[in-house]
């Protein structure tokens, strides 16, 4: 694991020297590229988007994305291209399908559960409220 991590670091440091900035044809292309690469996740450093990452593989994938854009591919097609090779991992916005239902609907379920709990508690308290009438209060204070 340590050696593997070291390999990652080496790859990252190797990246520093070898990367040329991307030259865009026009502002529209740049805007589209930025939007697209911000939605894609770097496969190497998984907490960064493709746009943010300095990893060599991210640089290679950025160039590939740009090339596919220039070939006239749509955003959808470019995403499909990456998913076919690197799985849903590359998407920050994973598709809704049975295996991701828990991911998409889990928080909603938890919220519903919380709401149900609140309703139950409030109703129970409301039912108990008359009993808490001060005139019936047997306590000394």
């Amino acid at each position: 694991m340590k050696a593997w991590l070291f390999a990652l670091l080496m790859l990252l440091s190797a990246a520093a020297g070898a990367m040329d900035p991307i030259v865009f044809r026009d502002d529209a292309e740049e805007a589209r590229f930025r939007a697209l690469s911000a939605e894609l996740r770097c496969v190497m450093c998984q907490n960064q988007s493709l746009a943010d990452s300095n990893a060599q593989i991210a640089h290679d994938l950025r160039l590939q994305v740009l090339e596919l854009m220039r070939e006239g591919k749509t955003d959808r097609e470019i995403k499909d291209y990456l998913v076919a090779r690197y799985s849903d991992f590359v998407l920050y916005n994973p598709p809704v399908r049975p295996s991701t239902w828990l991911l998409w609907f889990g928080p909603g379920l938890v919220l519903l559960g919380g709401l149900a709990a609140v309703v139950v508690v409030v109703r129970r308290r409301a039912a108990q409220a008359p009993a808490a009438n001060p005139s019936d209060d047997g306590q000394e204070w």
Binding site: M1, A3, W4, F6, A7, L8, M10, L11, A14, V43, M44, Q46, Q56, I57, D60, L61, Q64, V83, A84, R85, Y86, S87, F89
Partner: protein
């Protein structure tokens, strides 16, 4: 009584849930991405052979016999760690081992093989790493098992250890036979 224990029960439930999550993921390399290519034909490629200028090898040239594609680079320290395991595997004759020299300089790669030994029956070189994108490669070492029909049967990200060979690779090899 039960009412008083309810918060504790809820907490215990949560703790068990979290504990299970930790257990299930401990020892697992969370940086390893599952390959969608397992079960699919290996991507088409045509790459030069290291040390043999002018010779190109394509995916079709490798059909007919299962092989292990071991992605490495002279720049990759973890590849050094796994190299003895790969060497032993190649020597055992269980499987043909093909090297995939990833984003490397040919001179560095040759020197590395001279230093640590060359267990590969063939080393294909991907200097710019473009063909690697089709394999879903994102680092080194990575290892693929491809069957005689050219279908990817198994992939491992990170250095191969004797345990990985025993627990994953050998069973996968058995399914080929």
């Amino acid at each position: 009584m039960i009412k008083r224990l309810l918060p504790l029960l809820a907490f215990a439930l949560l703790a068990v849930l979290l504990g299970l999550g930790v257990l299930r993921n401990s020892g697992k390399d969370t940086s390893a991405i599952p390959s969608p290519l397992v079960g699919k034909p290996a991507p088409a490629f045509s790459l030069p052979v290291l040390g043999e200028p002018g010779r190109l090898v394509s995916n079709e040239d490798l059909l007919g016999e299962p092989y292990l594609l071991n992605v490495w680079g002279s720049w990759c320290p973890a590849c050094r760690d796994e190299h003895p395991v790969i060497t032993e595997l190649a020597k055992s004759g269980r499987i043909k081992v093909v090297g995939y020299d990833y984003k490397d300089e040919p001179e560095d790669a040759q020197r590395w093989l001279q230093q640590f030994g060359n267990p590969y029956s063939l080393v294909i070189a991907d200097y710019d790493g473009r063909a690697a994108l089709d394999w879903g490669i994102y680092g080194a070492p990575e290892t693929f098992l491809v069957d005689a029909q050219g279908v990817i049967r198994w992939k491992f990200v990170g250095p191969i250890t004797p345990e990985v060979v025993q627990q994953q690779l050998l069973p996968a090899l058995e399914t080929l036979e």
